[in-house]
Symmetry: C2
Subunit: 309 residues, 2 copies
């Protein structure tokens, strides 16, 4: 198999594009594709300073690397989630990436901020992924606003977006469908723009990119994700992709072009302001503040019980 560009030996085959490339051609090609997504969707300009959410996984590290290579101004944001060893290792890798390249990284520990994911799941009945999502969304906005970043970029890839779209479509969650786009403009003064520059990049491509660029990332899946519905949806999308290469890309892209515009009318009403933390919320208190309160109440109850026993 030969590289479609230079004719040398190919190292990666992209079935969805019916093409193969050597690493020397693939790396700048992927960077160019990401730049095209950024420009096409008007995600941000070269003048803006971008806060890149970096988990320590392949997608977010590939994204950060690509943005730097494309000449964007970036600062990394790593949330130490507090999910046992998995989080410690993720933090190490994110920090190592930044240090090796002398890049600015905000490293925030959710435990130090008051509530780690492990505690949220231990003291409530919420699914871990739901608590984790609530906390992440809160801190992405809060930290960006507090430190003056106009935009947060996340590493969501095509596989994530296709699986999420499938989930939303299976239940026809019209609100979620209306908001499923690669650029989410803020609807409150304490929301920032959220963008997904890798929404057309597969998991496989970002893993290959890290491999070719010698980026160390965490290989383990999050221990909380086992059995998650999202994984089932990814599995199913992989089967459909194998049967008909290009399915994921056209599923997501055609949705954005043809179907989502029709769902505009259902779009979200502007949020209120949370009484607890001042961040946007659709109820009196935002979901993060309600989560924190729930954990505090349960903790106090357990402590009382322990004392009386």
């Amino acid at each position: 198999m030969k590289c479609n560009r230079c004719g040398e030996r190919a190292e990666i085959k992209l079935r969805q594009h019916n093409a193969a490339f050597c690493r020397t051609c693939f790396v700048p090609l992927l960077q160019k594709h990401v730049r095209r997504s950024i420009r096409k969707q008007k995600m941000f300009s070269l003048d803006e300073h971008i806060l890149v959410a970096v988990s320590g996984g392949k997608d977010s590290l590939a994204l950060w690397d690509i943005l730097i290579e494309l000449g964007y101004q970036t600062t990394g944001l790593h949330l130490s989630l507090g999910i046992g060893d998995y989080s410690d290792q993720s933090t190490e890798l994110a920090v190592a990436f930044a240090e090796a390249r002398n890049l600015p990284l905000l490293n925030i520990s959710l435990r130090e901020e008051g509530l780690a994911v492990d505690d949220a799941t231990a003291f409530t009945n919420r699914p871990a992924c739901s608590a984790c999502g609530t906390l992440k969304r809160h801190y992405f906005d809060k930290l960006a606003i507090d430190r003056g970043f106009p935009v947060v970029a996340t590493g969501h890839n095509l596989d994530d977006e296709a699986a999420r779209l499938l989930g939303n479509v299976l239940h026809w969650q019209m609100d979620y469908l209306a908001r499923q786009k690669p650029v989410l403009e803020p609807t409150h003064e304490r929301f920032v723009r959220k963008v997904k520059p890798l929404y057309r990049t597969t998991e496989f491509e970002s893993a290959a990119y890290c491999f070719f660029r010698k980026i160390d990332y965490i290989l383990d899946e999050c221990p909380n994700s086992a059995g998650a519905t999202q994984l089932k949806h990814k599995e199913v999308m992989n089967q459909l992709e194998a049967a008909s290469p290009g399915t994921k890309l056209s599923f997501v892209q055609d949705f954005l072009e043809r179907a989502r515009p029709m769902m505009q009318s259902e779009a979200n009403r502007p949020p209120l302001t949370c009484e607890g933390c001042g961040m946007p919320s659709f109820t009196e208190r935002c979901s993060r503040c309600r989560l924190v309160r729930e954990v505090q109440t349960k903790r106090a109850r357990y402590a009382d019980r322990a004392r009386s026993e």
Copy 2:
């Protein structure tokens, strides 16, 4: 496991409803469910004479049986498609069902009408399912109109509808999505209303119904369907259903209630009239007349070549 209705031993478990039934309770229950679908979607009234498309498979025979049991006026329509032995066996079973119950059945041979499916696939490059669909749609309308039936009922079940919806959604075929409903009103004087009373009934339920009612149906899959995309989509939907029972039903039902109404605007322009056969068409000649002409041309060419060799 006990029957949810009468407490006797259950013979069928319906995971999507988290319920189990004995045959004595299941049979009238399914009939009632179908009546509810017919009424909810205003498919037809007791005064109308319904042409039931009967393939000889479990769904269409179960449908015909249910409509009779519910007191509707029906005539069966069987198209002998001309797909080798499979069609001969299907025809036998459809005829046997009608004769045993003394029911009126129109038995139409596509070969005698001018073009069987086997010839359409032998002389053109069209996929068999596409040629078959074109011919079926043509004769359903033509025979109903010519003989004064206001409505054609087909045996499409929930599995068919969910797989079709998935296929339409994967490519965001907005025209197809706008038309995917259990009642299709005619948009041309030579179209009739098409209805799918089993759109909320699973394949499993119609098979069980036939078993309990001792209805003989063709067990083989159509030989042309092997490898068809529709089968892949059914397989995927079965996996999603197994992971989360009720997925198929909510996928189809929520689509009809929440998403499809938004797609109204894209709805179909009214068709023209085919120059060849006078039936509705979106081009000068309808797809069936183009298919017939293509076969005639190729046949003549082959005959010429055979003579000259």
